[in-house]
Structures are given as structure tokens and as C-alpha cells.
């Protein structure tokens, strides 16, 4: 192993010992916040259908009073669904309108009702899934009124409000994650500034001597910046590994919960690459901070 030549004995400084720990804690927190933000971004991307959006029509089962009429049982339900489909498919801007099968509705309800529930015993509504061209401006209120007139009790559910609320919540959470990342970066910067200033004070005699023998400020700054980079990386790598372990354990715990109750949150390959860059960024922040601190201080010396 090649012995590293270090003029300033910065490794022996007391303050150098706790810097990797501090950077490790900061990296751990920043990585978790970043992973959370990236995972939430993937969730919103999955909800966003792109060029289209979806509406749902819910047709309740015929009321008990109607059972006395000629329109009874499955036939009555089919007639109501067919009437709604007819109206919807003739509405401009609607790309597709499909009635959901009973087994599809059962699958949606399974997490709450269990597999053993008999759907025939329950007054489940019929559901029609509608795909709308996003560019076409559909009057959802007018469409809902017309549906109600054609099929009494039918309700049009516009997911726009729900999606807007979810997006707003996710963006707020991402903002909090970004603030956490920025705060941890700021804390790391302050710590490196403190450690570097302490090193400048402790080794003032050697620094003065280096100046006298003709060392440029950049030469002295390199001693500090290389040291800070090394300490930064030695703290950031374990910090990231601990964060990855935490993410994996959370993922394992989430997989044990029923999938339908939790959205499928996972990190994409791109997100893992971003996380892998965290120690590099932490090291560079430490390095650049140390350099800037030293250059600023030395510029005040003759």
C-alpha cells in the first residue's frame, strides 16, 4: 500500500474523529428522505394516466320497491347498465366505456370483505369504467345529470378531485423530504466549516511556515480538501448502506401487509442510481466546503 504524504497531521486532530460519524448520520437521514421522495414520485406517476383520464359510473341495484315491477333481478340490472353504456358511448370525448364484471368488483372488495363473502347476498352496485380523452372538455356535471335522467340513481364519479388531493399531498410530502435533504446538507456544511476552521487554528504554525517557504493558498487548501473528501466518503458510505438496509427492511415489512391496503411503493432503478450518488455528493460537498473555508481564511493572511 502506498503511503499517503500528508504535510498537515489532520488525521490526528480530535475534530476529525467525529466528522465521519456526523456525515454518516446526515447521509442516513438524507438518503431516507430522498428515497421517500423518489418513491412517492413513482406513485404519482402511476396514478397519472397521461393523455387520458378515467371516470366511473356507479349504478345502484334496483330499489326494493322496484322489485314488484316487471323489471326484476339480473335482467333489470343489465337493462340499466345497457342504457347507461348507450348514453356514454354516444357522448363525444369518451374513448371507451366498459361495465366491470362482477368478479372484478369482487376482487376490489376482497381486502375488506374477504374471500368467503357471497356477492349474491350483497346489494352491490354495477360499475362502468370510462376512459376520457384528456384534451376533450367534457361537461361532467351535465353528463351526470343526463345519466341520472336515463338511469335513475346512476352517479358519475369524477376522479379529478381525488387525484388532485393525492397529488397535492404527495407534492407536500416531497417538499418536506427536499427540506430534510437541504437541512442535512446545511448541517454537514456547518460541521465541515467548523472542523476546517479548527484545523486551521491548530496547525497555524505549520501553515505560516508553508507560506514562508512559498506554498500557494491552493496547495494548503488541497491538504484540507483531500482530508475532508476522505472523511466525507468514509462517513457517507456507511450512512448510505444503513439507509439501504432500513429501506429494504421497510419494504419487507410492507410486503407482509395486504397489498391492496398499501400502494405498491418501490424504488426504480433510476432511484437506486440517485441514492448511490449520495456518498459522492456528500464527499464533494465536504471537499468544496473545506476548500472554500481555507481559501477564505488564507486570503486574510499576508
Amino acid at each position: 500500500m502506498i503511503k499517503r504524504f500528508q504535510i498537515l497531521p489532520l488525521d490526528a486532530d480530535e475534530s476529525s474523529r467525529f466528522l465521519p460519524w456526523t456525515i454518516a448520520f446526515m447521509t442516513y437521514l438524507a438518503s431516507l428522505a430522498l428515497a421517500g421522495g423518489l418513491a412517492l414520485a413513482a406513485v404519482t406517476a402511476r396514478f397519472d394516466p397521461g393523455e387520458t383520464r378515467n371516470l366511473t359510473v356507479e349504478i345502484p341495484p334496483p330499489l326494493a320497491a322496484d322489485n314488484s315491477t316487471a323489471e326484476q333481478g339480473p335482467k333489470a340490472r343489465q337493462a340499466r347498465v345497457a342504457a347507461a353504456l348507450d348514453l356514454l358511448r354516444n357522448t363525444p370525448g369518451i374513448i371507451a366505456a366498459e361495465a366491470m364484471e362482477r368478479r372484478e368488483i369482487a376482487a376490489l372488495l376482497e381486502p375488506w370483505l374477504g374471500k368467503t363473502a357471497s356477492l349474491e347476498d350483497l346489494p352491490l352496485p354495477d360499475i362502468i369504467d370510462i376512459t376520457v380523452d384528456r384534451t376533450a372538455e367534457i361537461d361532467t356535471q351535465g353528463l351526470g345529470t343526463r345519466l341520472g335522467a336515463a338511469v335513475p340513481g346512476a352517479m358519475l364519479d369524477d376522479h379529478g378531485l381525488w387525484f388532485a388531493r393525492i397529488t397535492s399531498f404527495v407534492h407536500s410530502t416531497q417538499l418536506v423530504a427536499a427540506v430534510i435533504v437541504l437541512l442535512t446538507c446545511a448541517a454537514a456544511v456547518f460541521t465541515v466549516v467548523f472542523v476546517t476552521r479548527s484545523g486551521l487554528a491548530v496547525h497555524r504554525d505549520i501553515i505560516e511556515m508553508l507560506h514562508v517557504i512559498g506554498a500557494e493558498d491552493g496547495y494548503i487548501a488541497r491538504e484540507f480538501q483531500n482530508h475532508a473528501l476522505r472523511l466525507g466518503l468514509s462517513g457517507a458510505v456507511p450512512g448510505l448502506l444503513a439507509a439501504v438496509l432500513t429501506i429494504e427492511l421497510l419494504g419487507l415489512a410492507a410486503s407482509r401487509v395486504d397489498a391492496a391496503l398499501l400502494p405498491d411503493i418501490h424504488l426504480s432503478a433510476k432511484a437506486w442510481v440517485v441514492l448511490a450518488l449520495v456518498p459522492v455528493v456528500a464527499g464533494l460537498i465536504a471537499m468544496m466546503t473545506a476548500r472554500a473555508t481555507v481559501m477564505r481564511r488564507l486570503s486574510r493572511m499576508i
Binding site: I7, I206, M209, L210, V212, G214, I302
Partner: protein, 225 residues
Amino acid sequence: MVRFENVGMRYGMGPEVLRDVSFTMEQGAFYFITGASGAGKSTLLRLMDLGCRPSRGLITLFGRDVATLKRSELPGLRRRIGVVFQDFRLINHLSALDNVGLPLRVAGAKPGQIRDHVAELLSWVGLADQLDAKPATLSGGQKQRVAIARAVISRPRLLLADEPTGNVDDTIAMRLLYLFEELNKIGTTVVIATHNEQLVSRFTHPRIHLKDGESMVHVPRAARV
């Protein structure tokens, strides 16, 4: 080479430690700076090695007015000056070889070139067998010689030494001063600050005596002849 004109120096708002100091040193000269402790010898050397700027007056080094020097010009000028510090300023975790080679390393020389050059110089000061010794294992005289070797490794045109005989006995002190004379003979301007008047009296070199912050230049009769 070095010119001081009415130079005054004070630290912060304190009293002037140097007042109206004026002298001129020619290339190849050998000067002693004498005076009691606290007379301002070290401050005078610091002004000459560009370690601080005067409060007033004019200092000219190598034909350049120090007051007009840009910060980026200082390293180049400092590399033409060798300094032996009173407290040696050796770096404890580096070997004698690495300590002496520092000025070359700082100037961008390659490690291979540094080793050969430093080994030769340490041999010249009588420390050929102490290349890898750390300062803590060296005696006061040996440390002083390492410090001198470091000061002259880059062949400076001006060599400044602050109390170079302060930590050694008279025999070693004389040997060190002869070492400085050898350097002076090959063209280096040498300036030595010392409070040891007895030692200075054995040489015929001119001296600048500091008293109460003011300077007086003495040229011994033998030197005048």
C-alpha cells in the same frame, strides 16, 4: 537586494516595535541583526520574509516595492528567500528527509528528484545517517541543521535565520555560523538575528543593532579594511 526606508511596525493598536528603520543590503552581503530580547529582531526578519507588512515606510525586496505586491506574487518571491525559524518549525510526523524536501515539494518537484537532492544536502550538514529520523529523535543541534538544510534546499538568494544558535552550545554555534559563511561565499545574502554579542564579535560582518525599536548599522573596523 533589501532596502528599508523609515520603516515602522506596530501590532494592532500596540506601541511601535520598530521605528524609522532604514538600511540597504547588497547582493552577497552577510549581516548580523543584534539587540536584546524584545528589541524587534524577529519582527524585522518577519518583514523581510514577507510574513507581515509594515505599518509605515518603504520596503524593497529584489527590486520590488513590497506594498505593491499582489497576493498571487508572494509565493514566487518567497521561494527566493530561505528562512531558519527560531523554533525550527519542523513537522514532527515527517522524517528529516521530508522536512528538508518541503520547499521543493511545494514548488512542484517530483519525489524522486527531491530525495537525491535532500540526501546530498543532509550529508553536507552532517546528517547523512539521519535521513529517516523524525524530529523528536533529533538533538537541538541536529534539528537546527535540518532547519538550515530546509532553508537552503531551493538555493535561495536571501537567507534569513532567527537565533540559529539559540538552542546549541558554543561549539555547534560556531559550526553553524561557518556553515552560513560557506553559503554566503557561493553568493547567498545571509542575515542572522541573534542576541549573542560575544559570538557576533568573532566575525567581521556588519551588523544592524536594534535598540528601543530603532536601528544602528555598525561596520567593524576589520570589515572596513
